[in-house]
């Protein structure tokens, strides 16, 4: 069973063992509008928490996804390249962006749980 975390940058992080799958929240997709393009990281790349790791674009905006945790990129959702609309349709499942092999699990402490994220969004 995976544990779900969130960041203030409106990313969700699903952690299972030492693997984290990352995507953006439905709140983020509502703010962005129709997503038209996704740029994914190279597999095998090492990232530090906070690094710009992927790009998501709507018609009039371009936004970066930051790595929520340090580690190595082990996979990327290439299906999004031809069907970026998946991110709008199913942001928290089929619309995932990339997965990371977590280098330091203690970084999880800096992320929010669902309750904390919901109240964070409420406060915006």
């Amino acid at each position: 069973m995976a544990d779900l975390y969130f960041t203030e940058e409106h990313e969700w992080v699903s952690v299972n063992g030492d693997t984290a799958i990352v995507g953006i929240t439905s709140y983020a997709t509502e703010q962005l509008g129709d997503i038209v393009f996704v740029e994914l990281p190279d597999i095998g790349k090492t990232v530090k928490a906070g690094d710009e790791t992927a790009v998501v674009e709507s018609v009039k905006s371009a936004s970066e996804l930051f790595a929520p945790l340090s580690g190595e990129i082990i996979s990327a959702n290439e299906a999004l390249e031809d069907a970026p609309e998946t991110v709008n349709e199913d942001p928290q499942d089929r619309g995932w962006f990339f997965s990371i092999k977590i280098a330091d699990k203690s970084e999880l402490a800096s992320l929010m749980d669902k309750e904390a994220y919901d109240s964070f969004v409420q406060g915006l």
Binding site: E9, E11, I24, L32, D34, V36, E57, K60, S61
Partner: protein
């Protein structure tokens, strides 16, 4: 994740309402590649002699896929298409930061005199003395208007001029041996996107300065960002909120004290010509958009022209080519980098936008020094009059008067279900081009209105009446009028999402080599 601009819906709701199209004066017209034919031509030429080519197997074997039209068909095709464009000559074009003023036709006539239009950039300079003199006269006017030391004429547009100014600054810093150290360029949040893009293209890091509650540079933040690693500040003045930066001289002095330079974006020169000179404000470099302030036509997106004035601190680093007078009094072009050892380089193949130089100089001479000052006064007067007429119906972003353009936020639309975009699109149905929207980024749902000096009082009144009526309609709940708009244009709202997700960038039938 970060969002640099809020996403807006661009996928229109489908609708059964179809505008009147394909009737009366608005004719249906297909694409060139549908109406043309591969065997048709509208040009007659001298017969070929049948002489064999020298090119052997480098001769083209495949067809181009081009289609042709006879002259009557071509006229009809493009005249029909022209009917689908809004234009200054049709009505008020209130695009803030774009200065859509009248384009005098005398300028078009003069630019077409063969003595300017039909001369080659590499003819012997002895055969183009009139062209070089024209460039010198244009330079004289631009320097007199700005008080600066020299002007580089070759930049081909505003953003190209920004590049020219920033490369001059970079070269000056390099000459001082400080390029390794001075990496940072301060750019206000309200800046046009070209400013950060230009500084980045010149290899600098961008440090964004927020605006204060009055829409000006936040003085305290500005002071806190100064340091020995600052190369320059890029400031638009009047700024993109339509406001003059009253601290501009202090900003200039302070940046100079810290060893940096002051780049001024000249996009809004139309507000201050003849009222002050940028040299007296402490500016080191500024591009001048001839297509804004000096009325050369926008032409559906270009060509522009961006001559860049430089202070005495930067003059030596100007790009080639430039005009100089030789010992015999003849005008010459300095084109070789060897002959200009301090120059930072070359911006483009030839001498700049000569066609625009002719138009801009004709505009200046027509107005004279007295008229140019009147231009700025009328531009500012028109904007303030419009602001006064509509300020109780829309929501001005800042209190007080403005310069040549007035900025509003979307506060007046709150709770109406109408967005800035909807409001702007509804203007189309009233016969107007929308104002600039969602720029600058410092206010929510921005609407930026610049009427320019070439609008009459009657025209301003009619526009103000329309804006007030629309604002009241939005507030009174007539949401559909806005969300469905436009319904009277040749096309309804276009699906930009579809265009971006699955780009179709050329006519499809002849897709080859892909």
């Amino acid at each position: 994740m970060s969002m640099n601009a809020k996403g807006r819906p661009t996928k229109p709701e489908t609708s059964n309402i179809s505008p009147q199209f394909g009737s009366a004066l608005l004719q249906e017209e297909g694409l060139l590649h549908e109406v043309g034919h591969c065997d048709k031509t509208g040009v007659d030429m001298e017969k070929l002699s049948g002489r064999k080519s020298r090119l052997g197997d480098l001769e083209r074997s495949e067809a181009t896929g081009l289609v042709g039209l006879s002259e009557p068909e071509a006229l009809r095709h493009y005249v029909r298409l022209s009917g689908r464009n809004y234009a200054i000559d049709l009505g008020l074009y209130p695009l803030g930061s774009c200065t859509m003023k009248h384009n005098p036709r005398l300028n078009e006539k003069l630019a077409r005199i063969p003595g300017f239009a039909d001369i080659h950039p590499l003819q012997p300079t002895s055969t183009v003395q009139g062209a070089l003199q024209l460039m010198e006269e244009l330079s004289h006017w631009l320097l007199e208007i700005t008080g600066m030391q020299t002007v580089a004429l070759s930049p081909k547009a505003g953003a190209h001029g920004e590049m020219c100014g920033m490369l001059s600054i970079r070269e000056a810093i390099l000459a001082r041996g400080e390029l390794e150290q001075r990496r940072r360029v301060l750019v206000p949040q309200s800046a046009h996107g070209t400013n950060p893009a230009t500084a980045a293209a010149c290899g600098f890091e961008i440090d964004e300065i927020p605006a204060n509650a009055e829409g000006r540079v936040d003085w305290d933040v500005f002071c806190s960002r100064l340091g020995p690693d600052v190369a320059a500040i890029m400031l638009t003045n009047p700024n993109t909120c339509g406001l003059f930066e009253p601290d501009i001289r202090k900003i200039a002095d302070l940046i100079h004290e810290h060893g940096g330079y002051f780049y001024c974006d000249g996009a809004n020169l139309n507000a201050i010509m003849g009222k002050c000179r940028v040299n007296d404000l402490g500016v080191d470099a500024m591009h001048i958009n001839l297509h804004k302030t000096f009325s050369t036509p926008h032409g559906g997106g270009g060509p522009g022209a961006g001559p860049t004035v430089l202070s005495s601190r930067l003059a030596d680093f100007a790009p080639v080519p430039f005009v100089k007078t030789d010992k015999t009094g003849k005008l010459q072009l300095v084109e070789q980098l060897n002959d200009a050892p301090d120059s930072f380089g070359r911006m483009c193949a030839f001498h700049g936008q000569m066609g625009m130089f002719v138009r801009a100089l004709a505009y200046m001479m027509s107005h004279g020094g007295d008229g140019l000052r009147q231009v700025s006064e009328d531009a500012v007067l028109n904007a303030n009059y419009l602001l006064a007429r509509i300020k109780n119906h829309l929501s001005p972003a800042f209190s007080g008067t403005c310069m040549h353009e007035a900025l509003f936020d979307d506060e007046f639309l709150k709770g109406s279900g109408v967005t800035t975009l909807d409001f702007a699109k509804a203007l189309i149905d009233e016969g107007y081009h929308p104002m600039t929207m969602y720029f600058p980024l410092v206010v929510h749902g921005a609407l930026l209105i610049e009427p320019t000096e070439t609008e009459s009082l009657q025209s301003l009144d009619a526009f103000a009446d329309t804006l007030c009526e629309l604002a009241n309609a939005a507030k009174s709940g007539d949401q559909e009028r806005f969300t469905q708009a436009p319904v009277k244009a040749p096309l309804r709202r276009l699906d930009e999402t579809r265009a971006a997700r699955h780009p179709v960038l050329r006519f499809q039938e002849n897709l080859q080599n892909t």
